[in-house]
Symmetry: none
Subunit: 249 residues, 2 copies
């Protein structure tokens, strides 16, 4: 069951919109508003939501935090500051794991932009959620706090797993050997392998280097094209030189 | 070593400021800007940084992505879209683990607000970083993408994982660029890039192929020696042919 995002006494409609956008990016759709300062709906919320209108349309308004979380068994109070409340403090990561493990509904409380949650709001929660932040510069805004919580939650969603672009498999060994053989031939003609007692070592070094990339069949073909071009250019240039010399002689 | 955040052709100063704020919240201080649209410094950045001035003051400006990541061995291109590029795709979580495990410097590339990174920018990176997002609503803005990457990185910071002593660290980007430039020159003279409208694509394909191996500095030097040998052989052979022709004429 997806957790609920509760904005407690939010001040600016713009920030409500940004929070909605942050939520929907990670698949959260249920927003609840406790006494929004400028009422609800708020014309500034929509433009800031950048298309996350469904979250705003479904948002419910409550008069108190208690009402807003009445159906939730697990309530997390998000705060960056330490408070004189003896409750467990968890990171977004740990909270996300707990929420996924719990069969009951969970809620995350976020306070007003300027002041954050009041002690009475925090008292309603069983757990405090704190984003571990730079102790010398803690300046998370409302939408940023929401996005970090939503992001962590989404990691536990099977649907949220990234579809990894499959990498082309490495070419069969014989294709790789063909390419290495081609290069070896070219380098032998170029007297690259010198002195003679270093030939085996040099060839092994090259082989190691060319085996490392795990190039696909297509990539090996491209490299062979490169080698043929370099070789062909040489041939063509020698031909051209010969023709030019013949002309001038 | 802390990773570098590279904003590629950022449009609004406000968003540069927001990215700086996002970074400093999680202890990242090194920002690099590639051709910021409105120049630099930008008067709109400061107010949006909410006090993260140190990040803006230290920001360096570069003309190209290649210059901006010249000293970085691991470059991640952040993009939410699938691209026809065969590179590994990782989540911010996996990238953060890799960055902490690597003794060399890493860089995260972020594209312009409207369009994201261009294919040429992505081609410079060895790895693509994609935030797993709601497939029906992907709308992460620049600062949000930065904050998620910085947040994930900060998680590993406390742990201070020991380096895994890799056998051969990848060469810095500028060494790789040198090698690619050398090969490009040779192939241009060999008329490999043909027809003209395929030049950019062919060069990108080659770049992708040569970025894939994560060759070390030593390996890059070896490859440059190989290229020089192939090039020199051609010169020598032309010389020999010329001498032989002169003799016989």
């Amino acid at each position: 069951m997806n957790p609920v995002i509760v904005l407690v006494r939010p001040q600016l409609g713009e920030n409500i919109g940004k929070a909605a956008r942050a939520m929907l990016n990670f698949g959260l759709t249920e927003m609840r508003l406790v006494s929004p300062r400028d009422g609800w709906p708020n014309p500034n919320a929509g433009p800031a939501a950048s298309g996350a209108d469904i979250v705003l349309e479904r948002a419910q308004v409550f008069d108190s935090v208690a009402d807003a979380v009445a159906d939730c068994a697990h309530v997390y109070a998000t705060t960056v500051r330490k408070r004189g409340v003896t409750k467990p403090v968890v990171t977004p990561e740990v909270a996300a794991r707990e929420v996924h493990a719990a069969p009951e509904r969970s809620a995350f409380l976020f306070g007003p932009e300027r002041s954050g949650l009041e002690t009475e709001d925090v008292a309603l929660a069983r757990t405090i959620l704190t984003v571990p932040i730079n102790p010398e510069f803690g300046s998370l805004n409302l939408a940023q706090a929401v996005i970090l919580v939503a992001y962590e939650w989404s990691k536990g969603q099977a649907l949220a797993q990234p579809s990894l672009t499959p990498i082309d498999p490495p070419a069969p060994q014989e294709e790789l050997e063909g390419m290495i053989g081609q290069l070896d031939d070219m380098l032998e003609r170029a007297n690259f392998f010198f002195p003679p007692d270093r030939v085996a070592t040099s060839k092994r070094t090259l082989r190691t280097l060319l085996t490392k990339p795990a190039w696909s069949s297509q990539e090996v073909r491209t490299m062979r094209g490169v080698l043929s071009a370099l070789n062909g250019a040489k041939e063509r240039r020698v031909e051209a030189q010969r023709a030019s010399n013949a002309e001038s002689s």
